[in-house]
């Protein structure tokens, strides 16, 4: 019984992490038709910012403030990137935009190492206790992360399904031409979505910081996992990202338990399988 609880919590935590990281990526994919390779870099910067702020402020409340500030700061950074560079490339092939974001991966990696150095950092979790459920140990902060993922999911659902902006974002995913014809300020919408995506990346980095070691290389570590989840779930679909995160997390955890030698290859196999069967992901829109 305790293995079941531990595994479930582990899967949910993993899925929560993957979801928070991927939600921003899938939104940007969907609305801007842009593969943002720098999403991992934004994640890393969010984590680094939160680490520095949390150490400076100290305490549980210091950490919360650090997370919020990090998310906002990274959203601002994302806005800057979109307005200065990506906007100019909007009319070009997706490849040009992709390469521009790849260029930013290099730039951010270097700047981050300049500012924060090459040594790793560690952030203490605001809640360090653990619960005991049915004989299994459950760290409290894992539950906090699951909670944050839930809040993000809820917030995005409300935004996309219940607000006019959200409706426009969904329309941008489905049919941008008609949307523009209807009078929506598409550039502003695009910048807003990108900023939101960046902010989510920063939030993810900051929220997950207490669970890992923060240093150079974090950007490339996370980006491939984020791609897999987003693509398997379907570009542009937040529900897809959530489901994709659950599937990948389950496969990884069970793989670790049952076929440890191939556990690291499993996520890629899942993605390939999903795309082989449904070439636009679980909840994606077939190419127009």
């Amino acid at each position: 019984m305790d293995t079941f609880v531990t595994e479930t919590v582990s899967i949910l935590t993993n899925a929560a992490i993957l979801f928070i990281v991927s939600a921003g990526l899938t939104l940007v994919f969907g609305a801007l038709r842009l593969i943002n390779m720098a999403h991992g870099s934004l994640f890393m910067i969010g984590a680094l910012l939160a680490a520095s702020l949390a150490s400076a402020l100290g305490g549980a409340w210091g950490f919360c403030v650090a997370v919020l500030v990090a998310a906002v700061a990274v959203a601002a950074l994302g806005t800057g990137v979109e307005v200065v560079v990506l906007r100019r490339l909007h009319q070009r092939e997706p490849l040009a935009q992709l390469l521009a974001t790849f260029a930013f991966v290099l730039v951010f990696a270097d700047l981050a190492q300049r500012v924060w150095g090459s040594s790793d950092r560690s952030v203490t979790a605001p809640v360090a206790g653990r619960l005991h459920l049915a004989g299994a140990t459950v760290p409290e902060y894992n539950l906090v992360v699951i909670g944050i993922a839930g809040l993000v999911a809820l917030g995005l659902w409300l935004l996309l399904a219940r607000t006019a902006t959200g409706w426009r974002v969904r329309a941008a995913v489905e049919d941008p031409e008609s949307l523009a014809a209807g009078g929506t300020n598409l550039p502003l919408l695009r910048t807003s979505v990108f900023a939101l995506g960046a902010g989510l990346a920063g939030l993810a980095g900051a929220a997950i910081a207490p669970l890992e070691s923060i240093g150079p290389g974090l950007d490339t570590q996370i980006i491939v996992a984020a791609f897999i989840v987003t693509v398997a779930g379907g570009l542009g679909s937040v529900l897809g990202a959530a489901l994709g995160a659950l599937v990948i997390a389950t496969v990884e955890s069970l793989g670790t338990l049952w076929v440890p030698a191939y556990a690291s290859s499993a996520p890629y196999l899942v993605m390939i399988l999903v795309l082989a069967v449904r070439p636009w992901g679980l909840f994606g829109v077939p190419e127009r």
Binding site: F29, R33, I35, V85, R88, L89, R92, P94, L95, A96, L98, L99, A100, F102, A103, F104, V105, L106, V107, A109, D110, L111, R114, V224, F227, I228, V231, L235, A261, Y262, S264, S265, Y268, L269, M271, I272, L275, A276, P279, W280, G281, G284, E287
Partner: protein
């Protein structure tokens, strides 16, 4: 007269003369460049020769990858799979099966082509962005598999051994061999680009539905391109072993695949010579930067950004003039195809 007739009737006589003259200029410039490259070892420093060795291998890689990226419009982040397969065929063949270097070298493209079939069958079902990401997934999958199977593949350590015949250790010999192989491979690829097959690929990039309607199975066309590309990418990987003295798991990684993409875009992905030029720029830039500039990532990123922003169709790109974008009258296509293949510097 309709607009269509106008485009047709006037250029015909001048087109013939222009083609003849530009073919001559093209042939001469190719010979000049080849002569310069062959004479290079006796003129430039060893550092440059070493970089040129790398460029020989990576140029073939980039052009082979560009068959998909630029010509067919299939952005693949997975050509590293074949590149790595080619390199490992040589090294593992030497280590486990005691093949000579040249046997492994000859088998590398075969293995690349064979592997491309199942991968292509699966990957080509996806379109554009999904295709890019599924090829990326294949890249990472192979990287993981090679890294985990330490016993067979050497794992993260790779296989570094005296696989390459000793006389090629000398940078000059190694370079001249690589140059010869590269020229031969590029000649074949050039023939492929210029053939009807290449034309069909470009056409399918422009308007897939139309080509499908004309009776060609675009899926099969793309699969064939994928196999050809896989074979030549594997050849490039085998070529790299001469420079690298071995093979390592990172050759499968998406960052290696990405290098071919970057070179193609910087150089101009709608042309044949573009990826070669792009490889020159990228390799010289990268190699010198990591040696002399601690912030090389920053510089490389900034340069890449600049190129993407300022030179939209690459350094050697055949520009698709804004007026002609999306509308494809036959006359226009004939013009751009001719300009693409007939003008100098190709």
């Amino acid at each position: 007269m309709t607009a269509l007739d106008e485009t047709h009737s006037t250029p015909a006589p001048t087109l013939g003369r222009a083609v003849r003259r530009s073919t001559l200029i093209r042939a001469v410039s190719v010979l000049v460049v080849l002569a310069a490259l062959a004479a290079a070892p006796y003129v430039v420093s060893v550092t440059v020769i070493l970089t040129l060795e790398e460029i020989a291998a990576f140029a073939v890689f980039a052009v082979a990858a560009n068959l998909l990226i630029g010509q067919a419009g299939l952005i693949s982040f997975g050509q590293g799979v074949f590149f790595g397969l080619g390199a490992y065929t040589v090294t593992l063949g030497w280590e486990h099966a005691h093949w000579s270097f040249w046997l492994g070298f000859a088998l590398a493209p075969v293995l690349g082509a064979v592997a491309a079939v199942p991968i292509g069958l699966v990957a080509l079902r996806a379109r554009t962005l999904y295709f890019a990401l599924i090829t990326l997934a294949f890249s990472e999958l192979f990287y993981q598999l090679v890294e985990q199977n330490t016993d067979f593949t050497g794992g993260a350590n790779g296989v570094f051994a005296p696989v390459v015949p000793a006389w090629m250790e000398n940078p000059v010999n190694g370079y001249l061999t690589l140059l010869g192989i590269a020229v031969a491979a590029l000649a074949v690829l050039r023939w492929i680009y210029a053939s009807n097959f290449g034309l069909l690929l470009r056409a399918s990039r422009e308007n897939r539905a139309r080509i499908q309607a004309l009776g060609t199975s675009v899926y099969r066309l793309h699969l064939l391109a994928f196999v050809v590309s896989g074979a030549f990418c594997a050849l490039a990987g085998a070529m790299l072993v001469i420079y690298n003295q071995g093979s390592n798991a990172e050759l499968f990684d998406w960052t290696t695949s990405g290098q071919a993409v970057i070179a193609s875009v910087i150089g101009g992905m709608y042309t044949f010579i573009g990826p070669v030029a792009g490889t020159f720029v990228y390799q010289f830039g990268h190699d010198n930067l990591v040696r002399y500039v601690p912030d090389w990532q920053l510089v490389l990123g900034a340069v890449l950004l600049l190129v993407v922003l300022v030179r939209p169709d690459g350094l050697v790109g055949a520009l698709r003039l804004s007026g002609r974008r999306g509308g494809a009258t036959r006359g226009v296509e004939l013009d751009s195809a001719t300009e693409g293949s007939g003008a100098t510097g190709e």
